[in-house]
Symmetry: C2
Amino acid sequence: MKVTILHGNIISADEFGKIAIYESGYIVSVDGNITFIGEVLPDGYQDYPIDDYGEALIMQSLADMHLHAPQYPMLGMGMDLPLLEWLNTYTFPTESHFKDNDFARVTYQKFAHELVENGTTRVCMFSSLHRQATLILMEELEKAGLTGYVGKVNMDRNGSPDLQETTQESIKETIQWIKECHFEHIKPIITPRFTPSCTNELMQALGQIAHDYHLPIQSHLSENLSELAWVKALHPDCEQYWETYQKYGLFNSRTLMAHCVWSDEQERKALKDSGVWVVHCASSNENLISGYAPVHKMKEEGLKVVLGSDIAGGDHLSMLDNIAATIRASKARRIIDQWRTDFLTVSEAFYLATSASNEFFDEKPGFAIGNKLHALILNDSELTSAKKLTISERFERCIYRRQKDAIQAVYSEGKLIFKRK
Amino acid sequence: MKVTILHGNIISADEFGKIAIYESGYIVSVDGNITFIGEVLPDGYQDYPIDDYGEALIMQSLADMHLHAPQYPMLGMGMDLPLLEWLNTYTFPTESHFKDNDFARVTYQKFAHELVENGTTRVCMFSSLHRQATLILMEELEKAGLTGYVGKVNMDRNGSPDLQETTQESIKETIQWIKECHFEHIKPIITPRFTPSCTNELMQALGQIAHDYHLPIQSHLSENLSELAWVKALHPDCEQYWETYQKYGLFNSRTLMAHCVWSDEQERKALKDSGVWVVHCASSNENLISGYAPVHKMKEEGLKVVLGSDIAGGDHLSMLDNIAATIRASKARRIIDQWRTDFLTVSEAFYLATSASNEFFDEKPGFAIGNKLHALILNDSELTSAKKLTISERFERCIYRRQKDAIQAVYSEGKLIFKRK
């Protein structure tokens, strides 16, 4: 029995827009599962060692629900280019490097480490189309202590000479990859790149594979206006973009759809009725001038919304940085809506980056009893203030300051996976 | 004679939107003034030691042309509040702490150090209304190696009980403060907080003082819509906001006006005709939902535009961070303008944060011969890439990654003022 006891100022995003605070509190996990949270340590735990973080903040670690691992080497480049030129000049050539397993190993090792340092412990990510590099990625994430899903990308049209499969290759490699997955914490997810990258035949097969192997699905939806027009031209049979996934069994309550910037009322209703997860990627949408998703409205309508860094459309792995971007984008959206819609508060955006995805991992919001203990320790003792701050003020400041260096330790499933030297 | 020779990959923002690159180049300053830039070190300098930065990038250090030093202790807090509530809950109480000289000393020492670490060597900033704290601020900036202007704030109405002067106090303290300024690199600048904070009598006096002592001026203009309405109500005599400064001699070619988000065609023409400097504060405008200044249009119209972090409306001292914010805000503006206006490229935004303010300091753009040598060294050797990057790509990546830790050294007027351990 492995018992972990953390002590410090605990913040738990129990509800959208509402944080619960335990000043000088304790959180206990047994074999990775939370068994207690509160201000007085109950009997029975006194003999175990305590990881005492004093005045530091203990909060849920972060979930990055949409990112492209093979775009890590191009992070922060090409942002002056229009989307299609950016794809052809940077994205496709960079991804094609992952046919080289040695390059994949070195890159993904560094990448996994940087995720952990930034307090991300749960992920849903795209790999490239390369089966072996995908397995290497999964292995490196597992070794670094991360949990979640990785998808070998499928694309049998509209790629580049160096980055495309035939339909049959794509299907065969996907099945072989699924069979080769044997990781405890990193699981496979079906990943058609997006409708323009996949023929109907491939989509059909992927829907079948997802069904046969009981796998979740991730893709892109309604990111920008030219993409919408492109999908419309490719699919005169479908009235709306989402239907191009739905008709092949790829649009259900275990589907993550990145972006949904331009999802209108009808598409949002389809997302809701199908229980599909919207992955909002604020930084990427800003950088690529895609637009501003109506996140506040989506929440009001009852959609399930989580966050993604979407590197390398997004420019930072840090989900603290992405929470700040999410707030900012919601404020931009408020201006576009002529101040008629609300922006997202710090607590709301933090919830989206943490608790909101718990249900995807079959858990309850916040540090709920029974959840796996995913936590980070934030040390803000170096920051100046003119008065004694409340825990809530310190929490807000840590989000806005988004200092990687302030993350002192990270826990995944009750295990310490990072400690700053 | 003090000779400084830097060697590395040099980037100089010679024109708006265009960088000059000197691969493995040299830059020389004698007694702080640049005497050479190029790829082959000329005769006569061979006997001097060279600060060799190898593959690192050498670029102009940054100018922060609008920020509030006494708001440093509240950086990153209160961003969910509307502007007026934010002012009353955070800004005024925080600023009022600077009546305590000891608090001012400790805070401003840390603040000056953080500016330098972030590669900022030129500033125009607001202090609080306290004369002594203002002198302490100037002294700490000077000691840290910064250059530029600091203003004792004037406000004789609409403050708080703890933060307001009588008109006569304000005038008297300002004159005394100017007489007590005796710093080599940090000079006084006349600083009416903004029109709603200053009676006509005070404005009149400040215009006279600026004239008598040949001082530049800084204030706020057209930041948000409710402010515009307030100024209109206070000044039925003025058709537009800018006139409330102009009628008192506070609107000329040595005036910096922060924000100008809502300056319409007529106000922009006045700004141009008077040679007033627009200080664009993207991060602050995003955080406080002020709006998106039409910067690209301003540049096309020939206005002088520079950048400010505007902490603590802005959330980061790092001007790399603020360059990224500037690009982002211009992309938001492009969306608001229905894709009819251009966004700012990386080179354009970098120019605004560096060369654009050189003229304010009587210099030419870039690392021009005769300019003071203000430089920073960026080390990006820790970052991964899939291919050998061009200097231009590395430059862009450094801006987007905006890593404080990548700043290896900083020079101000030819003198090394920071070196990372």
